[in-house]
Symmetry: C2
Amino acid sequence: MLVLSLDLGGTKLAYTVMDENGTQFHNGKILLEGRQGTQVGRLITELIDSLLTELSQANKKIDAIGVSVAGIVWHVNKTVWVPKINGWENYPLQQEIEAVAGDIPVILESDRTCYILGERWKGAAQNCHNAIFLAVGTGIGAGILVNGGVLKGTQDIGGAVGWMVLHKPNQIAGDSPTCFFEDYASGTGLKALANLLIANSPQYKGILKEKKESLRTIEIFENFDTDEVASKTLQICIELWGMGIANLVSIFNPEKIILGGGVFGPATRFLPDIKASVSKWAQPYSNRNYSLEISALGKDAGVYGAAYSAIRYLNSKKDVQ
Amino acid sequence: MLVLSLDLGGTKLAYTVMDENGTQFHNGKILLEGRQGTQVGRLITELIDSLLTELSQANKKIDAIGVSVAGIVWHVNKTVWVPKINGWENYPLQQEIEAVAGDIPVILESDRTCYILGERWKGAAQNCHNAIFLAVGTGIGAGILVNGGVLKGTQDIGGAVGWMVLHKPNQIAGDSPTCFFEDYASGTGLKALANLLIANSPQYKGILKEKKESLRTIEIFENFDTDEVASKTLQICIELWGMGIANLVSIFNPEKIILGGGVFGPATRFLPDIKASVSKWAQPYSNRNYSLEISALGKDAGVYGAAYSAIRYLNSKKDVQ
């Protein structure tokens, strides 16, 4: 069995060919370089077309194509929404890929679904039936495994944990005393939080002061040990991660929560602090019985998950025959 | 097919005999009247013994016994934890019932699992695959259906949504700016909230002032229209219910959220206000696509769910044979 797996992010398209054991062939990456709307669709279909031709010449047959999409896959109308690509509010990606795929089945899944499926297959969630991949990047979303199946919800939009309403940190409380989880605990949120702390501290003269909109998330991590705003930002964020993850522990009583996305990454060094923060709030019994880990697949979680989606699809067809 | 269904609460034991269509025979209720420890076990086994004898004399055969337990059912070691019954931290209820049940299979489930299964079978969640029963009584717990199966978690303690950490209402914020969902939004919590508001309002001379520990939850509802503390308590609680339910809507993207337990009941009149409160925070797309309803089975949700657990068990055995 051989599947073609693609991972469409907001800025790049990664691809690989995998067999049922997860062995990779032909992997690569293409930057989107500002492409929009149908230009991105064309990039994907041309890539698939050329890979299929190349593999066919080598006498290799692709059995299915799996695609991880950085957004929402609306399974009912077979379109996708990728917030970071202009013109992809309701994009007919499935139809476009099927037009070049011929008889090969095409399986599209949201990135968060792929992340937890990838970790379930070849990463940190192997043998888990109840596990959560918390993807902390531009926003925050979760791929959630319940009883071995992925929680997609009624309209495929389940796992939107970035929308959890939490107590807003006192240091930045303005008109509203509440915030959404991703407002200050995502990569984008960390920058907003640092800039709010700077705005509230006229006496601060540190290295982040004049960055404003140009501040990059990584600079907050790089200056944690020496800069008061960077340090305070991450301390507050550890509290927010603690609350958000505690809520997931109490609700799901999972075996594992796996942290991934661009922020984990550099936030990995705070894993023990985050775990301690979670334990202040999580249901005590569930808190003693889950483990908090970093993604084992990292940037490859999407292609592994997309491949596994395709393989699961092929296996389900086999069961029926 | 005929099942015996029991619902063990903190103060009473309800029972019924049901067929596979949900038709009830022989239903009744026994108050626990302060029984503790093994006294409660004896009450249950004597009831089952006498019912089985009576049914047998009428030539009726019970195929399975389902029991809803107001607490946690630890399926691994086959014991239960019922916080409201002394000596039931780790009680061998399954074993005790099996001793009188002979060959009849015995299926124990937590009350929140039974509530959502009951509503799924004969109540407000019929035909739902993703639905939540929010039980608001002494505490707050949820029976959660994901992809048609009940979310129990790894150690059967999933659905502990009363532990969700939320922003504590500003009016009562003390040392901690956060609270757990059930601290002020459960039946017990409503009383605590009213007493805190009274303690913070020295000028208040209303009807609830001198009640203190003797204040009953129902009195807060009864005085909503005329008493400032009762009114404020419920306004704050509507915000808390809004936040808690919004988090569930965003995470699960469910078809329905069903409100039950003793508080719904009297809080039913606030359903439109709660729905409006939820919409301030829930993920907008999921918010437009769920419905908020009151339990259709009310106090019977437990016995229906326990019966359905037993019927599902019998059907699963049939599939295997």
